[in-house]
Amino acid sequence: MSSNIKVVKRHGDTLKEKLYLPAIYDGVKVTFKHLFDNVSDSNAVDTLEYPEEQPTDITSRYRGLHRLTHRADDTIACVACFMCATACPSNCIFIEATEREDGEDEKMPKSFFIDTLECVFCGYCVEACPCDAIRMDTGIFSLTGNSREDFVMGKEQLLSHKGAFGEEVSHART
Protein backbone atom coordinates (compact mmCIF):
# COMPACT_ATOMS: atom_id res chain seq x y z
CA MET A 1 0.00 0.00 0.00
CA SER A 2 1.05 3.52 -0.60
CA SER A 3 2.64 5.33 2.27
CA ASN A 4 0.48 8.36 1.51
CA ILE A 5 -2.60 6.78 3.04
CA LYS A 6 -3.28 8.11 6.49
CA VAL A 7 -5.64 5.98 8.54
CA VAL A 8 -7.87 8.15 10.71
CA LYS A 9 -8.92 6.57 13.97
CA ARG A 10 -12.65 5.97 14.21
CA HIS A 11 -14.29 7.15 17.41
CA GLY A 12 -17.38 5.83 19.09
CA ASP A 13 -16.37 2.23 19.75
CA THR A 14 -15.35 2.40 23.39
CA LEU A 15 -17.84 1.67 26.15
CA LYS A 16 -17.65 5.21 27.46
CA GLU A 17 -18.55 6.64 24.08
CA LYS A 18 -21.32 4.08 23.52
CA LEU A 19 -22.91 5.03 26.83
CA TYR A 20 -23.60 8.59 25.51
CA LEU A 21 -24.24 9.84 29.02
CA PRO A 22 -20.63 10.88 29.85
CA ALA A 23 -20.52 12.86 26.59
CA ILE A 24 -23.87 14.48 27.35
CA TYR A 25 -22.57 15.35 30.82
CA ASP A 26 -19.49 17.03 29.26
CA GLY A 27 -21.71 18.95 26.84
CA VAL A 28 -24.08 20.10 29.57
CA LYS A 29 -21.09 21.31 31.57
CA VAL A 30 -20.14 23.65 28.71
CA THR A 31 -23.65 24.92 27.98
CA PHE A 32 -24.49 25.33 31.65
CA LYS A 33 -21.34 27.36 32.22
CA HIS A 34 -22.36 29.77 29.46
CA LEU A 35 -25.91 29.95 30.82
CA PHE A 36 -24.74 30.56 34.39
CA ASP A 37 -22.17 33.21 33.43
CA ASN A 38 -24.67 35.09 31.27
CA VAL A 39 -27.49 34.90 33.82
CA SER A 40 -25.27 36.18 36.60
CA ASP A 41 -24.05 39.11 34.50
CA SER A 42 -26.27 39.70 31.49
CA ASN A 43 -24.63 43.01 30.60
CA ALA A 44 -21.41 41.15 29.80
CA VAL A 45 -23.15 39.47 26.85
CA ASP A 46 -21.37 40.86 23.82
CA THR A 47 -24.31 42.10 21.77
CA LEU A 48 -25.02 45.57 20.43
CA GLU A 49 -28.29 46.91 21.84
CA TYR A 50 -29.23 48.62 18.59
CA PRO A 51 -30.78 51.22 18.22
CA GLU A 52 -30.19 52.53 21.76
CA GLU A 53 -26.56 51.61 21.32
CA GLN A 54 -24.91 52.69 18.06
CA PRO A 55 -21.91 51.02 16.46
CA THR A 56 -18.61 52.72 17.21
CA ASP A 57 -16.43 50.79 14.78
CA ILE A 58 -17.32 52.55 11.50
CA THR A 59 -14.03 53.29 9.72
CA SER A 60 -13.21 56.28 7.54
CA ARG A 61 -13.31 54.03 4.47
CA TYR A 62 -16.89 52.93 5.20
CA ARG A 63 -19.23 53.73 2.28
CA GLY A 64 -22.14 55.46 3.95
CA LEU A 65 -24.76 57.82 2.59
CA HIS A 66 -23.52 60.25 -0.11
CA ARG A 67 -22.92 63.95 0.31
CA LEU A 68 -21.95 66.82 -1.99
CA THR A 69 -18.90 68.75 -0.79
CA HIS A 70 -18.29 72.49 -0.65
CA ARG A 71 -15.28 74.58 -1.66
CA ALA A 72 -13.43 76.58 0.96
CA ASP A 73 -15.69 79.58 0.23
CA ASP A 74 -18.81 77.49 0.85
CA THR A 75 -19.92 77.24 -2.76
CA ILE A 76 -20.77 73.88 -4.33
CA ALA A 77 -17.78 71.90 -5.59
CA CYS A 78 -19.70 70.01 -8.28
CA VAL A 79 -19.25 71.23 -11.85
CA ALA A 80 -21.98 69.04 -13.38
CA CYS A 81 -19.60 67.05 -15.57
CA PHE A 82 -21.83 63.92 -15.45
CA MET A 83 -18.85 61.62 -14.71
CA CYS A 84 -20.59 60.11 -11.67
CA ALA A 85 -23.89 59.58 -13.49
CA THR A 86 -21.96 57.87 -16.31
CA ALA A 87 -20.01 55.63 -13.95
CA CYS A 88 -23.08 54.69 -11.93
CA PRO A 89 -23.91 50.99 -12.53
CA SER A 90 -27.47 51.32 -11.29
CA ASN A 91 -28.24 54.60 -13.06
CA CYS A 92 -29.54 56.29 -9.96
CA ILE A 93 -27.89 59.73 -10.30
CA PHE A 94 -29.92 62.35 -12.13
CA ILE A 95 -28.20 65.71 -12.85
CA GLU A 96 -29.45 68.78 -14.63
CA ALA A 97 -26.68 71.30 -15.44
CA THR A 98 -26.94 75.07 -15.54
CA GLU A 99 -24.62 78.00 -16.19
CA ARG A 100 -22.64 79.15 -13.21
CA GLU A 101 -23.08 82.82 -12.25
CA ASP A 102 -20.66 83.12 -9.27
CA GLY A 103 -17.49 83.17 -11.40
CA GLU A 104 -15.93 80.05 -9.88
CA ASP A 105 -16.43 77.76 -12.86
CA GLU A 106 -18.52 77.49 -15.99
CA LYS A 107 -21.08 74.89 -14.88
CA MET A 108 -22.93 73.76 -11.79
CA PRO A 109 -25.84 71.38 -11.19
CA LYS A 110 -29.28 72.94 -11.22
CA SER A 111 -30.65 69.79 -9.68
CA PHE A 112 -28.85 66.70 -8.39
CA PHE A 113 -30.85 63.65 -7.38
CA ILE A 114 -29.67 60.29 -6.04
CA ASP A 115 -32.30 57.58 -5.75
CA THR A 116 -30.94 55.67 -2.74
CA LEU A 117 -33.42 52.85 -3.28
CA GLU A 118 -31.69 52.11 -6.60
CA CYS A 119 -28.17 52.84 -5.32
CA VAL A 120 -25.98 49.81 -4.56
CA PHE A 121 -23.43 51.88 -2.58
CA CYS A 122 -20.55 50.71 -4.79
CA GLY A 123 -18.67 53.99 -4.55
CA TYR A 124 -17.94 54.28 -8.31
CA CYS A 125 -19.34 57.83 -8.35
CA VAL A 126 -16.80 58.84 -5.71
CA GLU A 127 -14.01 57.24 -7.73
CA ALA A 128 -15.16 58.91 -10.94
CA CYS A 129 -15.52 62.46 -9.60
CA PRO A 130 -12.65 64.70 -10.83
CA CYS A 131 -13.57 67.49 -8.40
CA ASP A 132 -13.86 65.51 -5.15
CA ALA A 133 -17.41 66.84 -5.13
CA ILE A 134 -19.27 63.66 -4.20
CA ARG A 135 -18.21 61.61 -1.19
CA MET A 136 -19.59 58.74 0.87
CA ASP A 137 -17.90 59.61 4.17
CA THR A 138 -20.98 60.63 6.17
CA GLY A 139 -20.92 57.43 8.27
CA ILE A 140 -24.72 57.21 7.90
CA PHE A 141 -25.62 53.54 7.50
CA SER A 142 -29.33 53.50 8.23
CA LEU A 143 -31.85 55.34 6.12
CA THR A 144 -35.54 55.39 6.95
CA GLY A 145 -38.60 56.97 5.39
CA ASN A 146 -42.32 56.63 5.00
CA SER A 147 -42.55 56.77 1.20
CA ARG A 148 -40.40 56.10 -1.83
CA GLU A 149 -39.96 59.84 -2.37
CA ASP A 150 -38.26 60.14 1.03
CA PHE A 151 -35.38 58.09 -0.32
CA VAL A 152 -34.66 60.31 -3.34
CA MET A 153 -31.99 62.72 -2.09
CA GLY A 154 -32.03 66.21 -3.59
CA LYS A 155 -29.15 68.67 -4.00
CA GLU A 156 -29.90 70.66 -0.85
CA GLN A 157 -30.12 67.53 1.30
CA LEU A 158 -26.91 66.10 -0.13
CA LEU A 159 -25.14 69.40 0.52
CA SER A 160 -26.41 69.47 4.10
CA HIS A 161 -24.81 66.12 5.07
CA LYS A 162 -21.64 66.53 7.07
CA GLY A 163 -18.52 64.42 6.69
CA ALA A 164 -18.02 62.19 9.71
CA PHE A 165 -14.24 61.95 9.55
CA GLY A 166 -13.00 65.56 9.69
CA GLU A 167 -12.58 66.26 5.97
CA GLU A 168 -15.12 68.96 5.18
CA VAL A 169 -14.17 70.75 1.98
CA SER A 170 -13.33 69.42 -1.45
CA HIS A 171 -9.65 68.69 -2.04
CA ALA A 172 -9.78 69.28 -5.81
CA ARG A 173 -11.61 72.63 -5.94
CA THR A 174 -10.45 74.94 -3.19
Binding site: H34, L35, S40, T47, E52
Partner: protein
Protein backbone atom coordinates in the same frame (compact mmCIF):
# COMPACT_ATOMS: atom_id res chain seq x y z
CA UNK B 1 -69.08 16.06 50.71
CA UNK B 2 -68.52 19.21 52.68
CA UNK B 3 -68.12 22.71 51.29
CA UNK B 4 -64.47 22.46 52.13
CA UNK B 5 -64.01 19.37 49.98
CA UNK B 6 -65.67 21.13 47.04
CA UNK B 7 -63.45 24.20 47.48
CA UNK B 8 -60.31 22.05 47.58
CA UNK B 9 -61.44 20.13 44.48
CA UNK B 10 -62.11 23.34 42.53
CA UNK B 11 -58.85 24.92 43.66
CA UNK B 12 -56.93 21.80 42.61
CA UNK B 13 -58.59 21.81 39.20
CA UNK B 14 -57.82 25.50 38.68
CA UNK B 15 -54.28 24.97 39.88
CA UNK B 16 -53.82 22.08 37.45
CA UNK B 17 -55.22 24.06 34.54
CA UNK B 18 -53.10 27.11 35.43
CA UNK B 19 -49.90 25.12 35.88
CA UNK B 20 -50.45 23.43 32.51
CA UNK B 21 -51.71 26.39 30.47
CA UNK B 22 -49.99 29.40 32.02
CA UNK B 23 -46.62 27.71 31.81
CA UNK B 24 -46.88 27.55 27.98
CA UNK B 25 -46.01 31.23 27.38
CA UNK B 26 -43.45 31.08 30.17
CA UNK B 27 -41.86 27.97 28.67
CA UNK B 28 -41.79 29.40 25.15
CA UNK B 29 -40.05 32.49 26.52
CA UNK B 30 -37.79 30.39 28.75
CA UNK B 31 -36.74 28.26 25.80
CA UNK B 32 -35.82 31.29 23.72
CA UNK B 33 -34.05 33.06 26.58
CA UNK B 34 -32.10 30.01 27.79
CA UNK B 35 -31.15 29.13 24.21
CA UNK B 36 -29.84 32.62 23.56
CA UNK B 37 -28.01 32.87 26.86
CA UNK B 38 -26.34 29.52 26.19
CA UNK B 39 -25.27 30.89 22.80
CA UNK B 40 -24.05 34.20 24.32
CA UNK B 41 -26.97 36.21 22.96
CA UNK B 42 -29.71 38.07 24.83
CA UNK B 43 -32.95 36.80 23.34
CA UNK B 44 -36.35 38.52 23.45
CA UNK B 45 -36.23 41.26 26.09
CA UNK B 46 -37.93 44.27 24.47
CA UNK B 47 -41.68 43.70 24.54
CA UNK B 48 -43.31 45.44 27.47
CA UNK B 49 -46.62 46.66 28.85
CA UNK B 50 -46.27 50.14 30.39
CA UNK B 51 -42.55 49.55 30.79
CA UNK B 52 -42.97 46.20 32.54
CA UNK B 53 -41.06 43.65 30.52
CA UNK B 54 -40.50 40.98 33.21
CA UNK B 55 -37.39 39.88 31.39
CA UNK B 56 -39.36 39.61 28.14
CA UNK B 57 -42.16 37.17 29.09
CA UNK B 58 -44.61 39.62 27.54
CA UNK B 59 -43.25 38.58 24.14
CA UNK B 60 -45.08 35.24 24.36
CA UNK B 61 -48.44 36.95 24.84
CA UNK B 62 -47.76 39.12 21.82
CA UNK B 63 -46.96 35.94 19.88
CA UNK B 64 -50.25 34.35 20.96
CA UNK B 65 -52.16 37.41 19.74
CA UNK B 66 -50.27 37.24 16.44
CA UNK B 67 -51.09 33.55 15.96
CA UNK B 68 -54.76 34.14 16.79
CA UNK B 69 -55.03 36.93 14.22
CA UNK B 70 -53.30 35.00 11.42
CA UNK B 71 -55.19 33.91 8.35
CA UNK B 72 -56.76 30.49 8.79
CA UNK B 73 -55.26 29.05 5.63
CA UNK B 74 -56.70 25.75 4.53
CA UNK B 75 -54.83 23.63 1.93
CA UNK B 76 -57.29 22.96 -0.92
CA UNK B 77 -55.73 19.65 -1.96
CA UNK B 78 -57.04 17.94 1.15
CA UNK B 79 -60.32 16.45 0.02
CA UNK B 80 -61.04 13.68 2.51
CA UNK B 81 -60.85 13.80 6.28
CA UNK B 82 -60.85 17.55 6.66
CA UNK B 83 -62.43 17.30 10.08
CA UNK B 84 -59.69 14.94 11.26
CA UNK B 85 -57.04 17.24 9.78
CA UNK B 86 -58.48 20.04 11.89
CA UNK B 87 -58.96 17.80 14.92
CA UNK B 88 -55.44 16.32 14.92
CA UNK B 89 -53.69 19.26 16.68
CA UNK B 90 -56.48 19.30 19.25
CA UNK B 91 -55.88 15.61 19.98
CA UNK B 92 -52.18 16.20 20.62
CA UNK B 93 -52.83 19.28 22.74
CA UNK B 94 -55.63 17.87 24.86
CA UNK B 95 -53.84 14.55 25.42
CA UNK B 96 -50.83 16.39 26.83
CA UNK B 97 -53.12 18.63 28.90
CA UNK B 98 -55.21 15.76 30.30
CA UNK B 99 -52.12 13.73 31.15
CA UNK B 100 -50.95 16.60 33.36
CA UNK B 101 -54.16 16.54 35.37
CA UNK B 102 -53.23 13.55 37.56
CA UNK B 103 -50.07 15.10 39.00
CA UNK B 104 -50.39 15.67 42.78
CA UNK B 105 -49.40 19.23 43.71
CA UNK B 106 -49.39 18.66 47.48
CA UNK B 107 -49.88 15.86 49.95
CA UNK B 108 -53.39 14.53 50.56
CA UNK B 109 -55.15 16.80 53.03
CA UNK B 110 -56.65 15.24 56.16
CA UNK B 111 -59.26 17.68 57.40
CA UNK B 112 -62.00 16.71 59.87
CA UNK B 113 -61.59 13.06 58.97
CA UNK B 114 -62.03 13.78 55.26
CA UNK B 115 -59.34 12.72 52.80
CA UNK B 116 -58.93 15.38 50.11
CA UNK B 117 -56.54 14.91 47.20
CA UNK B 118 -54.78 17.99 45.81
CA UNK B 119 -54.95 16.67 42.27
CA UNK B 120 -56.91 18.13 39.36
CA UNK B 121 -58.34 14.68 38.69
CA UNK B 122 -58.58 12.97 42.10
CA UNK B 123 -57.97 9.40 40.92
CA UNK B 124 -55.73 6.72 42.43
CA UNK B 125 -54.62 5.13 39.13
CA UNK B 126 -52.56 8.17 38.08
CA UNK B 127 -49.66 6.33 36.42
CA UNK B 128 -52.00 4.22 34.27
CA UNK B 129 -53.91 7.37 33.30
CA UNK B 130 -50.68 9.11 32.34
CA UNK B 131 -49.39 6.19 30.25
CA UNK B 132 -52.77 5.75 28.52
CA UNK B 133 -53.55 9.40 27.78
CA UNK B 134 -49.93 10.36 27.09
CA UNK B 135 -49.70 7.71 24.36
CA UNK B 136 -52.76 9.15 22.58
CA UNK B 137 -50.86 12.35 21.85
CA UNK B 138 -48.89 10.73 19.06
CA UNK B 139 -52.15 9.82 17.30
CA UNK B 140 -52.71 13.52 16.67
CA UNK B 141 -49.25 13.72 15.12
CA UNK B 142 -49.87 10.68 12.90
CA UNK B 143 -53.35 11.82 11.79
CA UNK B 144 -52.15 15.35 11.11
CA UNK B 145 -49.18 14.17 9.07
CA UNK B 146 -51.08 11.51 7.15
CA UNK B 147 -54.07 13.66 6.23
CA UNK B 148 -51.87 16.52 5.01
CA UNK B 149 -51.31 14.64 1.71
CA UNK B 150 -47.80 15.97 1.67
CA UNK B 151 -44.67 13.85 1.48
CA UNK B 152 -42.83 15.72 4.21
CA UNK B 153 -45.81 15.57 6.54
CA UNK B 154 -46.28 11.88 5.79
CA UNK B 155 -42.60 11.17 6.45
CA UNK B 156 -42.87 13.05 9.75
CA UNK B 157 -45.92 11.00 10.72
CA UNK B 158 -44.16 7.74 9.79
CA UNK B 159 -41.17 8.76 11.86
CA UNK B 160 -43.43 9.65 14.79
CA UNK B 161 -44.87 6.15 14.49
CA UNK B 162 -41.39 4.63 14.46
CA UNK B 163 -40.58 6.67 17.59
CA UNK B 164 -43.53 5.19 19.44
CA UNK B 165 -42.45 1.61 18.86
CA UNK B 166 -38.93 2.57 19.92
CA UNK B 167 -39.60 4.04 23.34
CA UNK B 168 -43.01 2.86 24.59
CA UNK B 169 -41.78 -0.58 25.68
CA UNK B 170 -38.82 0.80 27.60
CA UNK B 171 -41.04 3.47 29.16
CA UNK B 172 -43.65 0.98 30.28
CA UNK B 173 -41.11 -1.51 31.64
CA UNK B 174 -39.13 1.09 33.57
CA UNK B 175 -42.37 2.50 34.99
CA UNK B 176 -43.31 -1.06 35.97
CA UNK B 177 -40.11 -1.37 38.00
CA UNK B 178 -41.12 1.78 39.88
CA UNK B 179 -44.61 0.39 40.44
CA UNK B 180 -43.05 -2.71 42.02
CA UNK B 181 -40.76 -0.57 44.19
CA UNK B 182 -43.45 1.82 45.38
CA UNK B 183 -46.14 -0.90 45.46
CA UNK B 184 -48.67 1.49 43.92
CA UNK B 185 -49.79 3.09 40.65
CA UNK B 186 -50.87 6.22 42.51
CA UNK B 187 -48.53 9.18 42.04
CA UNK B 188 -49.33 10.51 45.49
CA UNK B 189 -48.47 7.18 47.15
CA UNK B 190 -45.21 7.22 45.17
CA UNK B 191 -44.33 10.65 46.55
CA UNK B 192 -45.22 9.57 50.07
CA UNK B 193 -42.95 6.52 49.68
CA UNK B 194 -40.15 8.84 48.52
CA UNK B 195 -40.46 11.18 51.52
CA UNK B 196 -38.84 8.50 53.70
CA UNK B 197 -35.13 7.68 53.98
CA UNK B 198 -33.14 4.51 53.43
CA UNK B 199 -29.90 3.45 55.15
CA UNK B 200 -30.67 6.06 57.77
CA UNK B 201 -29.66 9.23 55.92
CA UNK B 202 -30.19 9.01 52.15
CA UNK B 203 -33.57 10.36 50.97
CA UNK B 204 -35.53 7.57 49.29
CA UNK B 205 -35.91 9.40 46.00
CA UNK B 206 -36.48 7.22 42.96
CA UNK B 207 -33.27 8.35 41.30
CA UNK B 208 -31.26 7.09 44.31
CA UNK B 209 -33.28 3.92 44.90
CA UNK B 210 -33.42 2.95 41.21
CA UNK B 211 -30.71 4.82 39.28
CA UNK B 212 -30.89 2.61 36.17
CA UNK B 213 -34.67 2.68 36.00
CA UNK B 214 -34.60 6.44 36.52
CA UNK B 215 -32.22 6.99 33.59
CA UNK B 216 -34.33 4.77 31.30
CA UNK B 217 -37.47 6.61 32.39
CA UNK B 218 -35.91 10.02 31.71
CA UNK B 219 -34.63 8.96 28.27
CA UNK B 220 -37.99 7.41 27.36
CA UNK B 221 -39.88 10.52 28.50
CA UNK B 222 -37.53 12.72 26.44
CA UNK B 223 -38.55 10.56 23.47
CA UNK B 224 -42.21 10.78 24.41
CA UNK B 225 -42.12 14.57 24.37
CA UNK B 226 -40.56 14.59 20.89
CA UNK B 227 -37.81 16.88 22.07
CA UNK B 228 -34.11 16.90 21.35
CA UNK B 229 -32.20 14.64 21.01
CA UNK B 230 -35.27 12.75 19.74
CA UNK B 231 -36.83 15.28 17.36
CA UNK B 232 -37.34 12.86 14.50
CA UNK B 233 -40.95 13.73 13.59
CA UNK B 234 -39.84 17.20 12.53
CA UNK B 235 -36.51 18.29 11.13
CA UNK B 236 -35.85 21.48 9.18
CA UNK B 237 -32.89 19.99 7.38
CA UNK B 238 -34.66 16.92 5.99
CA UNK B 239 -38.45 17.12 6.12
CA UNK B 240 -39.26 20.82 6.54
CA UNK B 241 -41.55 21.07 9.57
CA UNK B 242 -42.47 17.38 9.50
CA UNK B 243 -46.03 16.48 10.41
CA UNK B 244 -47.08 20.11 10.90
CA UNK B 245 -45.93 21.38 7.49
CA UNK B 246 -49.49 21.99 6.24
CA UNK B 247 -50.87 23.32 9.52
CA UNK B 248 -51.13 27.08 9.90
CA UNK B 249 -52.18 29.71 12.43
CA UNK B 250 -53.96 28.26 15.47
CA UNK B 251 -53.67 24.70 14.12
CA UNK B 252 -49.91 25.09 14.16
CA UNK B 253 -50.10 26.85 17.52
CA UNK B 254 -51.98 23.88 18.97
CA UNK B 255 -49.16 21.51 17.97
CA UNK B 256 -46.62 24.01 19.21
CA UNK B 257 -48.32 24.49 22.58
CA UNK B 258 -49.00 20.77 22.84
CA UNK B 259 -45.26 20.18 22.60
CA UNK B 260 -44.62 22.49 25.53
CA UNK B 261 -47.47 21.06 27.60
CA UNK B 262 -46.05 17.60 26.91
CA UNK B 263 -42.64 18.77 28.07
CA UNK B 264 -44.20 20.25 31.20
CA UNK B 265 -46.11 17.03 31.83
CA UNK B 266 -43.00 14.91 31.33
CA UNK B 267 -41.12 17.13 33.80
CA UNK B 268 -43.93 16.78 36.31
CA UNK B 269 -44.00 12.98 35.91
CA UNK B 270 -40.21 12.73 36.27
CA UNK B 271 -40.32 14.88 39.41
CA UNK B 272 -43.22 12.94 40.88
CA UNK B 273 -41.82 9.50 40.12
CA UNK B 274 -38.11 9.92 40.81
CA UNK B 275 -37.38 13.32 42.35
CA UNK B 276 -39.64 13.28 45.38
CA UNK B 277 -42.55 15.24 43.87
CA UNK B 278 -43.68 18.11 46.07
CA UNK B 279 -41.47 16.98 49.00
CA UNK B 280 -38.16 18.35 50.13
CA UNK B 281 -35.64 15.65 51.06
CA UNK B 282 -35.69 14.51 54.72
CA UNK B 283 -38.84 16.55 55.46
CA UNK B 284 -42.08 14.61 55.20
CA UNK B 285 -45.54 16.13 55.60
CA UNK B 286 -45.92 14.68 59.11
CA UNK B 287 -42.60 16.19 60.21
CA UNK B 288 -43.70 19.62 59.01
CA UNK B 289 -47.11 19.33 60.71
CA UNK B 290 -45.79 18.08 64.08
CA UNK B 291 -42.99 20.66 64.22
CA UNK B 292 -44.97 23.48 62.66
CA UNK B 293 -43.32 26.32 64.63
CA UNK B 294 -39.85 25.16 63.59
CA UNK B 295 -41.06 24.89 59.98
CA UNK B 296 -42.52 28.42 60.17
CA UNK B 297 -39.29 29.87 61.59
CA UNK B 298 -37.19 28.11 58.93
CA UNK B 299 -39.44 29.55 56.21
CA UNK B 300 -39.35 33.00 57.82
CA UNK B 301 -35.55 32.93 57.60
CA UNK B 302 -35.37 31.40 54.12
CA UNK B 303 -37.91 33.58 52.27
CA UNK B 304 -36.25 36.99 52.99
CA UNK B 305 -32.89 35.50 52.00
CA UNK B 306 -34.23 34.30 48.65
CA UNK B 307 -36.05 37.59 48.04
CA UNK B 308 -32.94 39.61 48.93
CA UNK B 309 -30.87 37.56 46.48
CA UNK B 310 -33.53 38.03 43.81
CA UNK B 311 -33.65 41.80 44.30
CA UNK B 312 -29.87 42.00 44.26
CA UNK B 313 -29.78 40.02 41.01
CA UNK B 314 -32.48 42.26 39.53
CA UNK B 315 -30.64 45.46 40.48
CA UNK B 316 -27.50 44.17 38.81
CA UNK B 317 -28.98 42.58 35.70
CA UNK B 318 -32.19 44.47 34.93
CA UNK B 319 -30.03 47.34 33.67
CA UNK B 320 -28.23 48.35 30.51
CA UNK B 321 -24.58 49.04 29.78
CA UNK B 322 -23.40 52.65 30.23
CA UNK B 323 -22.94 52.92 26.46
CA UNK B 324 -26.69 52.44 25.88
CA UNK B 325 -28.51 55.76 25.65
CA UNK B 326 -31.71 54.80 27.54
CA UNK B 327 -32.62 51.98 29.90
CA UNK B 328 -36.20 51.82 28.58
CA UNK B 329 -37.81 51.98 32.02
CA UNK B 330 -35.83 49.10 33.50
CA UNK B 331 -34.83 51.14 36.58
CA UNK B 332 -38.48 51.99 37.28
CA UNK B 333 -39.50 48.36 36.78
CA UNK B 334 -36.83 47.14 39.19
CA UNK B 335 -38.03 49.61 41.81
CA UNK B 336 -41.71 48.62 41.52
CA UNK B 337 -40.97 44.90 41.48
CA UNK B 338 -38.65 45.22 44.50
CA UNK B 339 -41.35 47.02 46.48
CA UNK B 340 -43.93 44.39 45.47
CA UNK B 341 -41.59 41.57 46.51
CA UNK B 342 -40.83 43.18 49.87
CA UNK B 343 -44.52 43.76 50.60
CA UNK B 344 -45.32 40.13 49.70
CA UNK B 345 -42.50 38.89 51.91
CA UNK B 346 -43.74 40.98 54.85
CA UNK B 347 -47.26 39.61 54.34
CA UNK B 348 -46.04 36.00 54.27
CA UNK B 349 -43.87 36.63 57.34
CA UNK B 350 -46.88 38.00 59.21
CA UNK B 351 -49.06 35.04 58.28
CA UNK B 352 -46.34 32.55 59.27
CA UNK B 353 -45.74 34.38 62.56
CA UNK B 354 -49.44 34.25 63.37
CA UNK B 355 -49.85 30.59 62.39
CA UNK B 356 -46.66 29.41 64.05
CA UNK B 357 -46.96 31.05 67.44
CA UNK B 358 -50.40 32.52 68.09
CA UNK B 359 -53.01 30.42 66.30
CA UNK B 360 -53.44 26.77 67.22
CA UNK B 361 -55.44 25.88 64.13
CA UNK B 362 -54.54 22.49 62.60
CA UNK B 363 -56.61 23.16 59.45
CA UNK B 364 -54.71 26.39 58.74
CA UNK B 365 -51.41 24.62 59.42
CA UNK B 366 -52.33 21.85 56.97
CA UNK B 367 -53.21 24.41 54.33
CA UNK B 368 -49.98 26.33 54.89
CA UNK B 369 -47.94 23.14 54.48
CA UNK B 370 -49.92 22.27 51.34
CA UNK B 371 -49.21 25.73 49.88
CA UNK B 372 -45.53 25.31 50.66
CA UNK B 373 -45.56 21.95 48.89
CA UNK B 374 -47.20 23.52 45.83
CA UNK B 375 -44.42 26.12 45.78
CA UNK B 376 -41.74 23.41 46.06
CA UNK B 377 -43.43 21.52 43.23
CA UNK B 378 -43.51 24.57 40.97
CA UNK B 379 -39.83 25.35 41.63
CA UNK B 380 -38.83 21.74 40.89
CA UNK B 381 -41.02 21.74 37.77
CA UNK B 382 -39.36 24.87 36.42
CA UNK B 383 -35.88 23.54 37.21
CA UNK B 384 -36.61 20.35 35.31
CA UNK B 385 -38.08 22.28 32.39
CA UNK B 386 -34.84 24.27 32.24
CA UNK B 387 -32.97 20.96 32.26
CA UNK B 388 -35.07 19.83 29.25
CA UNK B 389 -34.17 23.07 27.47
CA UNK B 390 -30.45 22.84 28.27
CA UNK B 391 -30.38 19.28 26.93
CA UNK B 392 -32.06 20.50 23.74
CA UNK B 393 -29.35 23.09 23.14
CA UNK B 394 -26.53 20.70 24.06
CA UNK B 395 -27.11 17.44 22.25
CA UNK B 396 -27.31 16.89 18.48
CA UNK B 397 -30.24 14.88 17.13
CA UNK B 398 -30.47 11.14 16.65
CA UNK B 399 -31.49 9.64 13.33
CA UNK B 400 -34.77 7.74 13.60
CA UNK B 401 -33.07 4.38 13.03
CA UNK B 402 -30.61 5.26 15.78
CA UNK B 403 -33.53 5.94 18.10
CA UNK B 404 -34.99 2.51 17.27
CA UNK B 405 -31.60 0.91 17.85
CA UNK B 406 -31.28 2.68 21.17
CA UNK B 407 -34.78 1.66 22.20
CA UNK B 408 -34.64 -2.00 21.19
CA UNK B 409 -30.99 -2.95 21.67
CA UNK B 410 -30.15 -0.96 24.78
CA UNK B 411 -33.14 0.45 26.67
CA UNK B 412 -35.40 -2.60 26.37
CA UNK B 413 -32.87 -5.19 27.69
CA UNK B 414 -31.75 -2.78 30.40
CA UNK B 415 -35.35 -2.14 31.44
CA UNK B 416 -36.06 -5.89 31.53
CA UNK B 417 -32.91 -6.47 33.58
CA UNK B 418 -33.88 -3.67 35.93
CA UNK B 419 -37.37 -5.10 36.29
CA UNK B 420 -35.97 -8.54 37.14
CA UNK B 421 -33.51 -7.20 39.72
CA UNK B 422 -36.20 -5.00 41.27
CA UNK B 423 -38.63 -7.88 41.54
CA UNK B 424 -36.01 -10.16 43.14
CA UNK B 425 -34.93 -7.48 45.61
CA UNK B 426 -38.50 -6.54 46.55
CA UNK B 427 -39.48 -10.17 47.07
CA UNK B 428 -36.27 -10.75 49.06
CA UNK B 429 -36.89 -7.74 51.29
CA UNK B 430 -40.50 -8.64 51.94
CA UNK B 431 -39.82 -12.34 52.57
Amino acid sequence: MSTFAIVIAVVSLVLGALLALLTIPVLVWLERRVASLIQDRLGPNRTNIFGFRLGGVVQSFADVVKLLLKEEYYPSHIKMGRWLFMLAPVITFSAALLAFMVIPFADTLMIDGEVLRVQALPVDFSLLWYLAIGAIGVLGVIFGGWLSHNKYALLGAVRAGSMVISYELALGLSALAFVITYDSVDFNAMVQWQSGVFWGVIPAWGILVQPLGAIILIVALFAETNRNPFTVAEGESEIVAGYMTEHTAMKFAMYFMGEYVAMNTASAVIITMIFGGYQLPWVSTETMLTHFSTFAVALMVAIPLVVALLIRWMRKNNTVRPTVSTDGGRGFETKVLSIALVVMTLFIEGVLLYLGFFAENPVANTLAVALFQVAVFVVKLMMFNIFFIIIRWTVPRFRYDQVQRLGWYYLLPLALFNLLVTAVVVVGVNA
